[in-house]
Amino acid sequence: MLSALLALGALGILFGLLLGYAAIRYKVEGDPLVEEIDAVLPQTQCGQCGYPGCRPYAEAIARGEADINRCPPGGETVIIALADLLGRDPKPLDEECGEEKPKMVAYIHEEQCIGCTLCIQACPVDAILGAPKQMHTIIESECTGCELCVEPCPVDCIEMIPVKQGLDTWKWPAPPPPPYERPADDDDTAPQPAGAH
């Protein structure tokens, strides 16, 4: 009787120590879910979701405070990816956040720029180059198209222009839906085949 109690007690202490050690040794820093959500978001840092950046939004989603359909730059792709990740149903983009637009990049009309540095302070990814009373310019390759620099500009010299379609960003179009999936009466709109097949 006593030996059994002692043995079980000893085992209990042993496992307790083991678990305690494991909790310290394999401690997970931060919430891994936040990382995963953050990896899905487009990192525009535009704040259209109502949070100051992509990571705060990811944290809000992980806490269950924010819905998954508040990211206009990510659009449908991101909503579906988030729905997949979190096991929820995808839903259409929340209209109060904005609408899905083609990818844009900011452009400063340099002859109008007065060098006030307000846009530099607004840019979330430090993609604007300039100094006080010096002309500013956008580093195009770093610009996420968040539009945060447009509002602060006192002389309205920043314009958002759509990214030019180049050969390196060109994509093969998806083949047109097969005839049996098309509505019956639009034969005349049969698209031109893209390839030789």
Partner: protein, 555 residues
């Protein structure tokens, strides 16, 4: 007799090669303008070294190779550069890219050609590669990989050099005609390539539907006694694909994501060998190639075409009607792509111009319009020469499940079109694979962009935080310095500072300024003014005035 192997799958196609091999090759007419895209190869675009208005000679360098993987570009004919601008290029997108446009003068004046190599074996492999690189030679089989890079073994032992004369796609006959007419030159080019690679063995592979080309090569090998094996391979599409040809000749498979050099083999096209020969022997850069013009034209044939010639000119020259075109396909019926316009130019990788008129007089499949649901017959899997599961790939592509589709090795697909061809439901399968591939590339690019943005945003936050901290620190330091002084000490400190300021001011005010090198007349004037001032206001010199003021100021 060479032992041959077989790859799994493949299809036997109707060849349609008789028409375009009936007439001998002739040079195409010189067009009034030549449009030369700066990027006609895999890698980065070439950089122009001429300016608008420059006169150029035939064969003159007009764009040098870019920094990394690239190839230079030469003027195909003499004339003047009239533009360096975006022009439509032969690409399925129909987009434009930077091009050099040359207005030809019809004189075909060559630049001076200096090199005269009597024996290429005297050159080192590196020298040979440099000649090939400077001549702008790229793989002429279709991919356009810079040949000099592919001729560099880079530490690998090259066991086998294969010269690919299989040319398995229907309609295309440019390699066949080249072998028939220039077998000796191709052979010489092969020996040069072998020298550059230090390859142990050489095989020339020709499909058994080209007996004339085979005989021509056989004769030249007999005559010259070159140590080269000539192998006739069965006509099964896609034997002409690099990896499939290696499998047929050696029974070895190139590993997934690997290159032939990984298993000690290098494969080049016969056209590339010919270009190498012309470059080494005649100092002639790559400025023209054989192009098959076939399909709905009166005289299907092969032409020797200068790069930059518009496709439409070739079609007209072969008796086609540009007004009744339905599609112009660059490449063959299996792997070619339809162009948006017939004004795009011939480039280094253009092997065939396949014309389809609105009369449908050429049996070319155009399948999208007739696609039916998949009946899961499995024919596509039987036909696939790379052992993929085309049906699975199709489902995942349609569902946009781009993770899963990569698990099924989408990127091993060579887009040969066999699955497409055998599909009884006429589903445009390769269209789906191309779509999926470009979507995945694009997503990867976007991911890289997002990672960069995240990194920059995090750094910015860190920077702002750091600046805030530094500012707070500075304030604290200042405040503590002032408060440490405290009470009477503080007053004294201010007093001392005032005194310092006063002393400085006094020194500045009392010393007359601009009084060096004065003429006697000026000196008199200054003295006069001084005297007057003292008389008018004897009590307050400016210095005393200031001092009193500061004392009056409330503290």
């Amino acid at each position: 007799m060479h032992r041959l192997f077989q790859f799994k799958g493949g299809v036997v196609l109707k060849e349609h090669k008789k028409d375009s091999t009936a007439l001998p090759v002739q040079p195409a007419k010189l067009p009034p303008t030549l449009t030369l895209p700066l990027k006609q190869h895999i890698g980065v675009a070439a950089e122009p070294v001429v300016a608008v208005g420059d006169e150029v000679l035939k064969g003159q360098l007009i764009a040098r190779a870019g920094d990394t993987l690239s190839a230079p570009l030469h003027a195909p004919s003499s004339g003047a550069v009239i533009a360096i601008a975006d022009q439509p290029i032969p690409h399925p997108s129909g987009l434009s890219a930077p091009c050099i446009v040359i207005e030809t003068d019809g004189e075909e004046r060559w630049r001076p050609r200096q090199r005269s190599v009597f024996n290429f074996a005297e050159l080192s492999a590196q020298e040979l590669r440099e000649i090939i690189r400077d001549a702008g030679i790229v793989g002429l089989g279709g991919a356009g990989f810079p040949a000099a890079v592919k001729l560099d073994p880079r530490g690998h032992e090259v066991e086998l050099l294969i010269l690919n004369g299989a040319e398995c796609e229907p309609y295309i006959t440019c390699d066949e005609m080249l072998l028939r007419e220039h077998a000796l030159e191709v052979l010489a080019g092969l020996l040069m390539m072998r020298h550059a690679l230090n390859a142990q063995r050489c095989i020339i592979a020709v499909e058994n539907n080209k007996p004339k080309a085979f005989r021509a090569l056989h004769e030249e090998i007999q005559n010259t006694g070159a140590n080269v094996e000539l192998v006739e391979v069965p006509t099964i599409y896609p034997t002409g694909s690099e990896k499939q040809l290696i499998q047929v000749l050696t029974g070895k498979e190139v590993p997934t994501g690997g290159l032939p050099i990984d298993i000690g083999m290098v494969c080049h096209n016969v056209g590339t060998a010919y270009a190498v020969y012309r470059a080494v022997e005649f100092d002639e850069p790559l400025i023209s190639r054989y192009v098959t013009v076939a399909g709905s034209v009166a005289h299907a044939r092969n032409l020797k075409v200068l790069f930059g010639t518009p496709l439409g000119n070739l079609i007209e020259e072969c008796g086609g009607n540009r007004r009744t075109l339905r599609r112009v396909i660059v490449g063959g019926p299996m792997m070619g792509t339809a162009m948006h316009s017939d004004t795009v130019p011939v480039v280094k990788t253009t092997n065939c111009v396949l014309v389809e008129s609105v009369m449908h007089d050429v049996p070319l499949p155009s399948r999208d319009e007739y696609a039916m649901p998949c009946i899961r017959c499995g024919n596509c899997a039987h036909a696939c020469p790379v052992n993929l599961l085309p049906q699975q790939l199709y489902w995942y592509a349609r569902a946009r499940d781009f993770d899963k589709i990569q698990d099924y090795n989408l990127f091993d697909c060579i887009e040969c079109g066999c699955c497409d061809y055998v599909c009884p439901s006429q589903i445009p399968l390769v269209g789906y694979y191309r779509y999926a591939k470009s979507e995945i590339w694009n997503q990867d690019a976007e991911k890289r962009q997002a990672d960069l943005a995240r990194e920059r945003h995090q750094f910015r936050e860190f920077r702002l935080e750091r600046e805030k901290k530094e500012r707070a620190e500075r304030h604290k330091k200042k405040r503590s310095a002032v408060s440490k002084a405290g009470g009477d000490d503080k007053k004294a400190a201010i007093e001392a500072a005032m005194a310092r300021v006063r002393a400085k001011k006094a020194e500045q005010d009392s010393a007359p300024k601009n009084t060096d090198n004065l003429t006697p007349a000026q000196q008199r004037q200054v003295d006069e003014a001084d005297r007057r001032r003292r008389e008018e206001n004897p009590a307050t010199s400016p210095r005393d005035n200031k001092a009193e003021n500061t004392q009056d100021r409330p503290q």
